[in-house]
Structures are given as C-alpha cells and as structure tokens.
Symmetry: C2
Subunit: 378 residues, 2 copies
Amino acid sequence: MTNPSKRKSPFTLHSRSTECAARLGEVHTLHGTFQTPIFMPVGTQATVKAVTPENLVELGAEIILANTYHLFLRPGHELIREMGGLHRFMNWDRPILTDSGGFQIFSLRKLAKITEEGASFKSHLDGSALFLSPEDAVAVQETLGSDIMMCLDTCIPYPADRQETLSATELTTRWAVRSREAQKETGQLLFGIVQGGMYPDLRALAAEQLIDIGFDGYAMGGLSVGEPHDLMMEITEHTAQLLPQDYPIYLMGVGTPADLVESVYRGVDMFDCVMPTRNARNGMLFTSRGRVVIKNSQYRSDPGPPDESCDCYTCRNYSRAYLRHLYMSREILAYHLNTIHNLHYFVGLMQEMRKAIADDSFLQFRKNFYALREEDKY
Amino acid sequence: MTNPSKRKSPFTLHSRSTECAARLGEVHTLHGTFQTPIFMPVGTQATVKAVTPENLVELGAEIILANTYHLFLRPGHELIREMGGLHRFMNWDRPILTDSGGFQIFSLRKLAKITEEGASFKSHLDGSALFLSPEDAVAVQETLGSDIMMCLDTCIPYPADRQETLSATELTTRWAVRSREAQKETGQLLFGIVQGGMYPDLRALAAEQLIDIGFDGYAMGGLSVGEPHDLMMEITEHTAQLLPQDYPIYLMGVGTPADLVESVYRGVDMFDCVMPTRNARNGMLFTSRGRVVIKNSQYRSDPGPPDESCDCYTCRNYSRAYLRHLYMSREILAYHLNTIHNLHYFVGLMQEMRKAIADDSFLQFRKNFYALREEDKY
C-alpha cells in the first residue's frame, strides 16, 4: 500500500531482507538522521534516568524519547521553551521523539475522563484538574521542539469488547484529523497512531483512515497492554503489513530483546521501552546469554563482567562482584552502571540486527540470538 | 619540631607562605603522587557517591578516601582482595586513603564498647557482633591495599572532661604503638591520629607520643564534633604547630570551604569531608559566591549555570532551571550533576590555594575568597 498524502516521507529505505519483512533504512529529522531499525531510550522527564547525554552518545543512542504528559506537568512546556527548547534544556542535540500523553492518560485512567473534545485528567503530582485536546498535544510538542511528535490517541485496554474498541479507534481517527490540522509548519514530523485493539479488521480500518489523513510515520499503539504474547505478535505482523512501506513504522512501548527481534522480523523500524532503564535500576542486566539478576549470591565473588561479549563502559571496567556490592549497598553508581550496560545492550542489539539485514542474513541472526540464550528466551 | 623516627617521609615540601603557615608540597604513595594542600572526596562504600572514577579524574581529584568500617562489613575486605584489591575493585588507579573505622565506631558508639584490646561493636547493617583491634584495622587496610592507612583511634566526644579526654588519648597512643608494630612491609603509608580533645596540653602530649612512635604522616582527629567553630580553629592551629613540618598534616572530616581556607592558612595539608557529596544530594551547590539551594523557586527559570565562574561539566552544559527540574523530579541525574559540580568546587578551591601559595599571595587569596561571598561566609 502506498501513501496517498503529498507529504514527502522522512524515511529512506536502504535494503530489505529477502527472507522476512525486516528492512534497513534511515529517518531524517531536524536534528539529524537516525538508522532503522532503532531502539529509543526513554527520557520521561527530560533525562534518560541515571545517565548523561554523553553516556548515551558513547553507548550509541541516536534518538531518545521524552514524555509530553510529564513535561507538560513539570516543569511545563513554556518554561522549556524559555530555556531554549527541550534539546538545549537537557543538553541533547540528536533527535527527540515526544509521545502525545495518550498512553500516560490511559495508564492513569482512573484520574481521567475522555470526551470528544479531549482528555480531562488530574495531575498525578498534585491532583490539579487539567485538560489536553489533540490540538493542545501538538502545540505542547511544538513548544518543546521535539523532532517527531505523536498524535494524541485513546489507548484501549485489554480485554475490550468490539464496540468499545471501535468507538475508541474512531475517536483516535477524529483526533488524528484535528492533530494534522493543528500542526504548524515547523519542520517537525508528526506520526499517527494506529489503534484497533486486538481486532484485525479494526486495525485495518484505523490504518486506512490514518493513511488517508497522511502522516510522516505510523505507530502501532495499544500493544503490550496485557494481551498474550502470541496475540501481540500476530497483531504487530498484521498491522505492519497494512502500513505504507515507504514510511517509518513504530511499535510503541515494546519490549523485551526477543520482542525486538520478532518485531523487526515483522517489519517494524522503531521501538521505545522503559525496560532497559527500569530493570537496570532493579538490578536486572540484559546479556547475550539472557538475564543476570545481579543481587543473586552466585555473583558475590564473580570477577567477570556482566557480559563477556560486551564492550560497554560497565563491562570494560567492573566485575559482577562490584556491581552486586553497589546494588546491595543501594549506591547510585549501581543505577548508573547498570543503565549504561542495559541501554548498550538494547542499542547494540539493534546495530546487530541492522548489520544482519544489510548482509541479508536476518534468519541466521535470529537463530543465533535464541541459540545463545538457551535457558532464557526473554 | 623534627621527627625522631628513621622512616623516610613521603612528603616533599615545595614552598611556604611567608605570610602564614600555608605550605605547598606533594605526597608520594604506591599509586602515585598527589599535590598538597589537597581535598579527598569520600568514597565510603568503594564508590564516591553518584559519580564514576572518570568523573573524578576529569574534575581533578588526585586521591580519594574509603571507609574501612563499611568495607569490612560489606562486601568484606577478603572479598575485595580476591577481586584484585580496592583499586581494581572500584576502578580507581590513583591513591586511596582508608580511615581506620575509629570515627564510624565513635559515630555508632551506642552500639560499641571500647576496651584496651579494641572496639566491640554491632554491625549497623544486621546487628551482628563484631570486634576490631588496632592490629585488625591495619590488617584490614593492608588487605584492601590502600595507599595511606590510618591507625585505629578513639574519637572523643564534645564536650568531654579532662580525665575522660586524657584516658582516651592515652589509649589512642597505646593503640598507635600496636598499629605500628602490626604493620607489614607493604609500602603502604601509615598515619597516626592526634587526639587530645579541646585541651591544648593533651594535644601536645598526644603529638609528642605519636612523633616518638614515628609515622608517615599525622592526622588531627576529634575535631568538627560539635565544638564552637573558633575553638576548632584554635585547636587546629595549635596542633598543626606541634607536628613535624617535614611530614604531611591531615585534618580529618573538615569541612566547609571557609574551614579549608582557614586550615590551610594554619598549616594543614590534607582534608576529607562528605559535605560536597552529601550536600549535592540534598540540592545544595557550592559556588564562588556562596551556596545555592537549587530547589528554591528563584531558580525556576534561571538559564544561568550554577556558578558563572566555574568550568565544570555541569556548569558548562546545564542551567539552574534544569538542575532545579531534575531535583524537584527526584531524578538520579540531579545527584550526579550536583556532585560533579560540588566536588569540582572543593578540588578547584584547593588548586587555587596551591597557586596562591606558589605565588606567595595567600593572604590576598583569602581576602578575595571572603570578598566574593559577602552574604555567605560558609
């Protein structure tokens, strides 16, 4: 399917796997170009937790995500504009994608009320009553100055019945129209979000409507919300096929290393997830051989690095014994070193996948990926 | 006064102020030489909280301190030896001074019992009963592999009567004799600690006895324990004069920027204090014009760096507004950036003092130091 919109795509396709839907490309933004498939570290409050921008550059991050909802609440988008925009504020000069706030409002839905006009919600910080329309979400993101903006959407819980799913999906489409109309000519990209729940025909309907509107990229929302893993992959595969292949395809909020491999296999280009950063702070390290729970006593006097095959700053300089000591001692350096390692793992996994696609050997890569982690398919 | 011991001093004197007791020199250790006067960042649990060794090198730290008591309890000195020693364990190849545990046992004295033999105490981690003799303290520090070891001492509370002070001071001397005898020929330096409370004649007695034993350097303990500031300075000045001028003189656990200036003025060479790191985590930044409490609303939209005249990583890249946002949001990066700035300030202050001594303009430096901070003499 091709995109009927006149907007020039920011995506350049370099090559396709002959074995599966995996593809290699790049996306052009106001703050430079990033390679796809890509993983975007999450920097919710204008900081990727526990690391500096220099750490992110060193570990190979090309684009990060920041959360509109959180920055809207604190410190406020107008303040960030006064301080020179989000890039200057947080000292990051590479691309930034901002989500729309839709997922946070969904997560906090006991505090929210969705109407045709937009989302009324209470601040999780102080309970104050707030309102965000699709137009507001675009305006806030334009004020922040992110490179890729997301339309405000209504995320659908799992399970949800067909009628509920249809009505939320259609509302997302109407909001997408309003988002598109609200967008000013700033050079920032705007992505639409495909909802449709776990109903393949509603995913198709949503995709068709968004393509009609015409966006700079297409995201799949409402996945990884509690559904069985097989169902998530089925809907991902189905939806990715419905989207225009000359635009970037983004699977929001996913996932484990295996999820990334399986989704790239199915044609996804962009990912974000709190897993590498959050799990780092909980002492869980991702490695090529599976997960390492660093507090376990088996690592007490283990002189080896977290991952023998890793060349990140943490693995080059510290032992599992030291990382365990830091974690048991609740030292801040534990969060810093674990986060560097985990993000390096996620970013590096995408680099390996890009290389495999370039070599047209993605199936072999995928086979090796699972072979190495015999005991932990996570 | 000269030192009667035959041990070669690790201290080389470069120059003396003609205006006051300030002096410029260097101390030679197994892991290299550091310049004095020097400030040693505190790395209690084998990490200077919230920063990496590379951050410490970049901000100019030449030597750090680690706490024997804490490492003895967790992860254990034998484990650290197995992992290649403290330097390898924590990835720091410059000098390390370890305290003896005496001050921690003093701080936790409700859990401790001091006898002639040593200190019986309960672990603050799990309440288990432990014992540390002067010989143990040396052995633990030899096992850790620190460059400068401290004798186990009995710190004296303030206020304390003369008899209590005399008896604790004499016990410290007897422990110092045992420490010296226990020391193996590892090349590690061993410093004695002068107690004597707030009694000038007992400080003199303690100094005389320690000089008789003969150490590689002399520390003043039992200061900054609640006494009035003028009294602390009086005892510091008095005690520094009693110590051999061809050996390094170390004032333990001190202090504010003004304390450092006043103590260098009185002839002190070495300092350590948790203030720059701890206050950083509480949102207090030290600057050439006094203290900045970053959470204050006056910094909400302040685009300037913490200190206009500072060239640390934090000041080069971040605004007060951003640091306030991180602090209010309890982001780990707040602790990291604030700590880098505060340590850079303390380390830089010592560099400025060394330059002033080299130029023989210490009194002018001291005058400027106070003139800049008209409203905050801290």
